[in-house]
């Protein structure tokens, strides 16, 4: 039962992230329908039908995610907190979830009614969907300035939906429009909506950051602050892509403008989903203002990040705390490997021993050498002078085996814990998923680089996996209690994640943009440079 609980606990967090994504898509679709698809004629009617279909699908997906989330969470509470069903039904999250579900069913019903009905009917259920989400946000749980924060959070979510959730609908509309001029007209309308949303998003974001982060030192000194800063950087990346779009709509050549627009839109959606996921993970962190102790200081960051020679020799396995791993094994067998809450003054997480830290640094530094080699060879292959360099993706296979063997020495095959612990410990699971992703990345991209596949789909696997890895790092191991080491580790991971997101989407754009678009020229160089930088940063990764 305890093991089942751990799985449900893990699942409930996954479902929360998926719910936020589908919420943005459903609400974004409705806003697009109401504000961008204004007009009549065959083109409009045809696209409205298509958008209504997608709104319905996203709302159904949201229903599925919300229902699963409620069931999983209720199950967890009944089993672990010994609460009865009657008790759970009155809890805030159930009431909020029920409101959201009712609203989603209304959206499904309205979208099934077709374009004959007035789309204004969507307004109430969409407001209810946002309300259901805000009801379980940080804002609702605050003691001070609760109502203004609730209002600002709702605006923040609404603007996110209008911009990022509306983008896929713009792509659908542009693709289905009968003429380039029609697509351009819709894009211009959406650009105005997006600009407005960006302004609201930025203002609301600033207010929320001020309320939850509180000070400059909390930005780099706490996990919450660092994640907010990451969101701001990714937001900047989105703005850059948006600006490229905006320029295209205003001044581009109609002949290739729409094709370029669609491709930039795809990258924007991808980065946007990453931001939404980072935002979802923020909801699981206590706001920085609540954790004034144990913050990381500027000199501590400087001391940690100062370049030093890489560690190329590993500590022996016998130097690792094997008795601790054995105790973990016993705890797992008894079903008590769950995450404990942090109590101030008490050590919530077992600090790693010096040997464990050296072990981890060695892992990161060798990984850095491999990744730097990948970036360098990819650049070399682009010169066309060394055809053997095209085999660079095979280096990732070595990286995968290395990660699988060494990233978690307490778990099989090196440690006493069985393979099944992988699924109970989120951190181990992440490392294992990452190792599997790297294998997929090596195989697919090697086939692409050496001309073994012509399929456009296969070529997209590499950028997708790189971008997904960036998202993985952003959600990596958040500490409950602002333990300094966790924050410092997070500060090392964040630049890697941002570079991975940039590498993935620049490669995507290189593959997808029409040949006439001159942006491709520098995008071709950008992604290997990002990969090389990841390698360099890994080479200077420190845990002590």
């Amino acid at each position: 039962m305890a093991r089942l609980l751990q799985i449900f606990g893990f699942l409930s967090v996954v479902l929360r992230g998926a719910s936020l994504t589908f919420q943005s898509l459903t609400v974004g679709g409705v806003i697009f329908l109401l504000l961008v698809l204004r007009g009549s004629g065959r083109d409009f009617e045809h696209i409205k039908d298509s958008c209504l279909g997608w709104i319905r699908r996203f709302a159904l997906a949201l229903i599925a995610m919300q229902t699963s989330y409620l069931v999983a969470n209720a199950f967890i509470l009944m089993q672990s907190a010994e609460m009865g069903l009657a008790d759970i039904i009155g809890a805030n999250f159930v009431l909020a979830g029920a409101l959201g579900l009712g609203a989603c069913f209304a959206v499904v019903a309205l979208s099934s009614a077709g374009r004959a009905s007035s789309h204004r009917g969507f307004l109430l259920p969409v407001a209810a969907i946002i309300a259901s989400s805000v009801l379980t946000s940080h804002a609702m749980a605050r003691l001070e300035h609760r109502l203004p924060l609730v209002f600002v959070t709702a605006l923040h979510q609404l603007a996110t939906a209008a911009w990022l959730g509306g983008l896929p609908f713009l792509l659908i509309a542009v693709r289905r429009g009968s003429s380039p001029e029609f697509g351009r007209q819709l894009s211009a309308r959406f650009s105005r909506l997006a600009l407005m949303s960006v302004a609201v998003l930025a203002s609301a974001g600033l207010i929320l950051s001020f309320s939850y982060v509180g000070s400059l030192s909390a930005i780099y000194g706490t996990s919450y602050g660092a994640m907010v800063a990451t969101k701001a950087i990714l937001f900047g990346l989105l703005l850059f892509l948006g600006a490229l779009n905006f320029q295209l709509v205003r001044h581009g050549e109609t002949s290739f403008i729409l094709a370029s627009l669609k491709r930039f839109g795809e990258a924007e959606i991808g980065v946007g989903v990453t931001v939404i996921l980072a935002a979802a993970s923020l909801t699981s962190l206590p706001p920085a203002v609540d954790l004034p102790q144990d913050r990381v200081s500027g000199p501590e960051i400087y001391a940690r990040m100062t370049p030093r020679p890489p560690r190329l020799s590993s500590p022996a396995k016998k130097d690792l705390p094997e008795e601790v791993y054995a105790a973990q094994k016993r705890a797992f067998e008894m079903g008590s490997l769950s995450t404990e809450s942090f109590v101030p003054g008490q050590s919530g997480t077992r600090p790693n021993t010096p040997a464990e830290k050296a072990w981890s640094e060695y892992n990161h530094h060798w990984a850095g050498i491999i990744v730097l080699s990948v970036g360098f060879l990819a650049l070399l292959a682009q010169t066309g002078k060394s055809s053997w360099a095209r085999n660079w993706p095979l280096l990732f296979l070595g990286l995968s085996v290395f990660l699988f063997l060494r990233s978690d020495p307490e778990v099989w095959p090196l440690g006493p814990n069985s393979f099944w612990v992988t699924f109970a410990d989120p951190e181990v699971l992440l490392h294992r998923v990452f190792a599997a992703l790297v294998v997929a990345l090596a195989v697919f991209e090697w086939r692409v680089q050496t001309g073994r596949v012509a399929s456009a789909n296969i070529r997209l696997v590499f950028p997708m996996l790189i971008a997904a890895s960036g998202a993985l790092l952003l959600t990596h191991s958040h500490s409950l209690g602002n333990v300094k080491e966790e924050v410092l580790a997070e500060l090392s991971h964040i630049p890697l994640a941002i570079l991975a997101v940039m590498a993935g989407w620049s490669r995507w754009l290189e593959l997808r943009l029409p040949a006439e678009n001159q942006t491709r020229a520098w995008l071709t160089r950008l992604w290997p440079v990002c990969i090389s930088l990841i390698g360099i940063l890994l080479l200077n990764y420190r845990e002590m």
Binding site: G9, F10, L11, S12, V13, V14, G17, A18, T21, N73, L77, A81, M83, I88, A91, N92, F93, V94, T136, A141, L143, L171, R175, E266, I269, G270, V273, T274, L277, S281, T283, S284, L285, P286, P287, D290, L291, T339, E340, S341, F342, V343, P344, Q346, P426, E427, L430, V433, N457, A467, A468, A471, L472, T475, H476, S477, H478, S479, L480, G481
Partner: protein, 125 residues
């Protein structure tokens, strides 16, 4: 495959992968800011008021305080209904000198529970 379905497949793949990866974050919703008695402190008995303050509003009706006696036996404490929204309190009566552990479990507004344990020592008044 036409460009339309291709984009959808790739997009959904990304959403699914990224959602899976999101599972990494631990859920941390109510953080204990201070407690009385404090962690590992000594307090005179036999009646001990217990008070825990959190960083956010909590659902007191669905939260729980349990006292683990020196002999390991458990007693569920009745939580007061008169506290501020981010606080729970109770009173443990008739405690003999010894080392006790206060187990707390609170439900936050987002439906997640957090729990912890505060060891403290009861001394003669």
């Amino acid at each position: 495959m036409s460009p339309g379905p291709r984009i959808r497949v790739v997009f959904l793949f990304f959403v699914a992968t990224a959602s899976l990866l999101l599972g990494a974050s631990t859920f941390a919703h109510a953080v204990l800011l201070e407690s009385s008695p404090a962690l590992k402190s000594s307090i005179p008995g036999p009646d001990v008021p217990l008070r825990l303050r959190f960083n956010v509003r909590i659902d007191a009706a669905r939260s729980r305080l349990t006292l683990v006696d020196p002999d390991g036996s458990l007693q569920t404490l009745e939580i007061s209904r008169k506290d501020p929204p981010n606080t729970i309190s109770a009173e443990a009566r008739g405690l003999l000198p010894g080392v006790y552990r206060l187990r707390w479990q609170v439900l936050a507004s987002d439906g997640h529970i957090t729990r912890g344990e505060i060891p403290f020592t009861v001394v003669k008044p």
